[in-house]
């Protein structure tokens, strides 16, 4: 006999498929934009801004080599001095959601905290994508 110690929470948080009445419900992992640009701590802001602009984004997620989310650059941070390093201006430890969370719950959170976007990560903190307000209906 085997015991899956992480349980259903670990499975859902990894964005893996399930069966059941909730299986077709829209979740964060379904709407997260996986093409969000990323950057590293040591890069200059200019490089992150150029990458984001070229991709049509106003945000850039700061990750390490394992794509673990370390911070977030939103519009205000991307406007900072060209040669400033990302780690000095990023928003460290942004609020993140797991892929199994319903978009209704994220909608409420984004409205309450007036967030324009929100990273979606796996249970071990790796970037899945970014959700924008319009993706979950938050206005």
């Amino acid at each position: 006999m085997y015991d899956y110690v992480g349980g259903k929470l670990d499975w859902l948080a990894a964005g893996l498929p399930t069966e059941g009445t909730n299986a077709t419900r829209a979740r964060a992992g379904d709407v997260a934009r996986r093409d969000v640009p990323t950057c590293r701590l040591e890069e200059p802001i200019r490089a992150a801004r150029e990458r984001a602009t070229a991709a049509g984004w106003d945000a850039c997620v700061v990750v390490n080599d394992e794509r673990v989310v370390l911070g977030l650059l939103r519009t205000d941070e991307l406007r900072k001095g060209d040669e400033e390093r990302v780690e000095r201006v990023m928003r460290p430890g942004p609020s993140t959601f797991r892929p199994h969370v319903s978009i209704d719950d994220i909608n409420k959170f984004m409205l309450t905290h007036d967030l324009p976007n929100c990273p979606i990560t796996t249970s071990d903190g790796r970037l899945v994508g970014l959700i924008r307000r319009e993706d979950v209906g938050a206005r």
Binding site: D3, Y4, A14
Partner: protein, 67 residues
């Protein structure tokens, strides 16, 4: 004693045909469960295990998390 495994092991064992069993209450199973899992709530374990489980087939159990 059951052998403790992680997600990678679970996916491998599923491919190998393990019987996956959720021991949470039935309504939680009906909302979401791992692909191919059957429901065997803890409170019914003694009465339903013999009926639902093949003694020759490996079994993998899970609940909500590590608690």
């Amino acid at each position: 004693m059951p052998k403790e495994i992680d997600r990678t092991d679970v996916r491998r064992l599923m491919r190998e045909g393990v019987r996956v069993v959720e021991v949470l209450p039935r309504d939680e199973f009906e909302a979401d469960h791992l692909p191919g899992a059957i429901s065997l709530p803890l409170r019914n374990l003694e009465t339903e295990a013999k009926e639902k489980l093949d003694p020759l087939r490996p079994v993998l159990v899970y609940c909500w998390d590590t608690a």
